[in-house]
């Protein structure tokens, strides 16, 4: 069966919670477990038999980083990959509606839609099989997972028939408890979905025409799949949920990138054991899952892991300790530094004996259904302790401590900082 996949990558106005890292690289290209965030999506899509084309959709201006990535991904995964640029932010439904002909060209009988800012096992094949099994091959499928009762309120909540898994009710971010089953932002559609989106489009147009003083920014083309389409489809017999027990998380804040890295690194032991660093004579000490780019230079007395990703051309000196961190390309960690729960930005330098440390924002490990909280930056007027982020080309002097802080790009620090945003 000819299939396609659409990956919604958003645009520069989105992903502000990912600052200062999203200043340098579009968020979908931020490396998670050593590879760009969306590469995990692309890899999962490319594995599905019949995948004809993968479309990245968003409102980034075409840029070199994105083009280079598309070229290398096409070569690696042997599938056509294109970028479709929306002329404006059209919402999760508006974009695919606008490009419906592109999506269906080549006779696609079904297509996946995946949000770029999630990390998942992407059980796409299972979603196809599920659709086959429950009998109606023309139905739409949402990937769902279980959350705890409090956190479910932050997501799209799904009530489904216990036997058939047909969606009976859908509500986005309710204020009271509705269901523990939440929307993972990964869907399987048939071309028929465009009729339903089209209906929303018509209705929007009519409503806008009635409003005399339309304030200009409202467009009929802006359509949200969740609120506008799923809510209407619930109970109509066309929308189903496939529940997964596999790992899943949103990647909204920079802090969640470290958590997502951990989930993908765990998966590598099965999917990509070659990407995991091993303890070797003459090599650094590896604890748990660690990704090291082949061009990185690591002193044999360094101790790395668990959950560490070391990027291209990174230098790690003697007696360096890195745990629960992402070190981006070109960064340099001098002798005896200690880096914990931190994202070290591109080309940043950390002087010897400096300590750069953040506070992990991991989900409660005792609750199997807990998700990462998309934390607010400030609480009660104080910066919430979070992972430490060094923007690109930041210089940390020797022997200082940087704790729970966010350092914006191109800063040269001269002393210790705690619980601060350093502009």
């Amino acid at each position: 069966m000819p299939l396609k996949a659409v990956i919604l990558i958003g645009g520069p106005q989105k992903g502000t919670r990912f600052r200062p890292l999203s200043f340098e690289v579009p968020k979908p290209l931020f490396p998670v477990a050593g590879v760009p965030m969306v590469q995990h999506h692309i890899e999962a899509c490319a594995k599905v038999p019949g995948m004809k084309e993968i479309l990245l959709m968003g409102f980034y201006q075409p840029n070199e980083a994105l083009s280079r990535f598309l070229v290398s991904a096409q070569q690696e995964f042997k599938v056509p990959i294109r970028y479709l640029q929306e002329y404006a932010a059209l919402g999760t439904g508006g974009g695919i509606y606008h490009f419906r002909d592109q999506i269906l060209s080549g006779g696609a009988e079904a297509f996946f839609v995946l949000n770029a800012d999630v990390c998942s096992e992407f059980p796409l094949q299972e979603m196809l099989e599920f659709r086959q099994q429950h009998g109606d091959v023309h139905s739409f499928v949402i990937l769902g997972t279980t959350a705890n009762r409090t956190q479910a309120l932050n997501y799209g909540c799904i009530v489904a028939n216990a036997g058939t898994q047909e969606v009976q009710h859908y509500v986005e971010k309710p204020s009271t408890f509705v269901s523990e089953i939440i929307n993972c932002g990964i869907y399987l559609f048939t071309p028929a979905i465009f009729q339903h989106i089209g209906e929303v489009f018509q209705r929007n147009q009519q409503e806008l025409a009635l409003e005399e003083s339309s304030n200009g920014w409202q467009r009929a083309e802006v359509i949200r799949l969740e609120q506008d389409v799923f809510t209407a489809l619930a109970g109509s017999g066309k929308l189903y949920v496939y529940k997964t027990d596999g790992f899943w998380s949103q990647i909204k804040s920079a802090g969640s990138a470290i958590y997502a890295s951990r989930l993908y690194l765990n998966q590598y032991s099965k999917s990509h054991p070659e990407r995991l660093a091993q303890n070797k004579p003459g090599g650094p000490v590896i604890r748990g899952n660690v990704y090291i780019h082949p061009t990185a230079s690591i002193d044999s007395t360094a101790v790395l892991g668990p959950n560490v990703s070391i990027g291209e051309g990174v230098t790690v000196g003697a007696g360096v300790r890195v745990r629960e961190s992402i070190v981006l390309h070109g960064a340099s960690l001098h002798d005896h530094t200690c880096v914990l729960n931190t994202i070290v930005g591109w080309d940043s330098t950390i002087g010897r004996w400096a300590r750069v440390e953040g506070t992990p924002s991991d989900p409660n490990p005792n609750d199997p259904y807990a998700k990462i909280d998309s934390e607010t930056l400030f609480r009660d007027g104080r910066l919430t302790p979070s992972i430490t982020i060094l923007g690109c080309s930041v210089t940390i002097p020797a022997e200082v401590v940087i704790l729970n802080s966010i350092v914006l790009p191109h800063k040269e620090l001269s002393r210790s900082y705690k619980n601060q945003i350093i502009l």
Binding site: T301, V303, A318, G319, V320, R321, R323, D335, H336, C338, L340, W353, R355, E357, E399, V401, L403, K418
Partner: protein, 360 residues
């Protein structure tokens, strides 16, 4: 000559170190605080030292018997059943102090300086008054009680507690010499020598001040203990530079016991004291710290302004700063950050202490 050292009570200000051993036996720059004083007294010709203690300790007794042997002097204990302040202990030890009719020294046990006992005795004999005290200059006199004295003779006119306008920059350094006649002034009851006895002596024109040359510090609290260490090591640099450690990775004034081991690629100093049997592993950075006997600092750690207690173990990649004090036998797990932590003995620390606090 004789001397009385006001040792006093439990040394609570220097806890958690004084939970494990009496304050006079805590090593300051690799030598028990009391030994600094005993050795200086002996050098000035003192043959009998009385320790005024308000609690008895077998450890202190045993240590003093040993020092009697080593120094060839007599050491007596004068045990207060109730706290007698800073003057009462003189009355309690009256018989021992007045026995030979000679002037005797009295000193606070928390003071560290280049003890000028011989000069003090000469000064005392010259002016012929009943008592002499050593004064030291301070930068901010408003924090202390200051001594106002005649510039040429040193005769003390008065004492002013925490002066609001400048009257003097000299404070009582806690080192005295008295004629036995002072004992007539002191009753056997809790009495403050500074507040009750000295003002009366000054009024009678019987009290003189001699200014101290060089450094002085009351090391009764951890913060001041470290400051005093820096001063002491600087003085050592001037007088006995051969006693200081040198070599690759040693910066400034560093005192290392010969039995201590220091690994490769460390940078130690300035102002560090490393005690007997201490092991500092590779790649450690230490500045402005005292590491007491038997402690181990594991590789790649970073320590500034800390006192590491006896037999402690500080893990790899630990950062400790801001007057962190570890009591005896504390274990700090790998990769932790201790900022101003005060850790009681025999604790195992498994979590960082990002803000100063006491760990029970």
């Amino acid at each position: 000559m004789r001397a009385l050292i006001l040792v006093g009570g439990f040394g609570t200000r220097l806890r958690p170190l004084t939970l494990s051993r009496p304050k006079p036996l805590v090593e300051f720059c690799n030598k028990a605080v009391l030994l600094h004083q005993l050795e200086a007294l002996r050098q000035a010709g003192v043959s009998h030292v009385v320790l005024a203690v308000s609690y008895m300790s077998d450890a202190l007794e045993a240590a003093m018997r040993e020092q009697e042997q080593r120094l060839g002097i007599r050491i007596s204990m004068s045990h207060e059943k109730e706290p007698l302040g800073t003057a009462g202990p003189l009355a309690l030890a009256r018989d021992l102090l007045a026995e030979d009719g000679e002037p005797f020294f009295v000193l606070n046990s928390d003071v560290i300086c280049e003890f000028p006992f011989a000069a003090l005795a000469r000064f005392h004999r010259q002016h012929g008054g009943e008592g002499s005290l050593v004064v030291t200059r301070v930068e901010e006199p408003a924090k202390y009680g200051v001594v106002v004295c005649e510039a040429d003779t040193g005769r003390i006119c008065r004492f002013v507690e925490k002066p609001r306008v400048f009257v003097s920059n000299k404070i009582n350094a806690g080192l005295y010499i008295f004629n036995p006649g002072i004992l007539q002034r002191i009753q056997l009851r809790p009495t403050s020598i500074e507040k009750e006895i000295f003002p009366a002596m000054a009024q009678d024109g019987q009290l003189y001040a001699m200014e101290l040359q060089g450094f002085w510090m009351d090391i009764g609290q951890p913060k001041d203990f470290l400051t005093g260490m820096c001063m002491y090591l600087q003085a050592l640099r001037a007088q006995h530079p051969e006693k200081l450690h040198s070599g690759p990775g040693v910066v400034g004034n560093v005192l290392v016991d010969p039995s201590a081991k220091i690994g490769a690629n460390c940078v130690i100093g300035p102002n560090v004291t490393i005690g007997a049997g201490v092991v500092v592993e590779d790649g450690v950075r230490i500045k402005r710290c005292t590491v007491l006997e038997g402690a181990r600092i594991r590789s790649h750690s970073w320590l500034e302004s800390c006192i590491v207690g006896w037999s402690c173990s500080v893990g790899q990649w630990v950062r400790m700063e801001n007057v962190t004090v570890l009591g005896e036998d504390v274990i700090v797990n790998d990769e932790l950050y201790l900022n101003g932590a005060n850790v009681l003995p025999h604790k195992s620390i498994a979590e960082s202490v990002p803000e100063p606090r006491i760990i029970m």
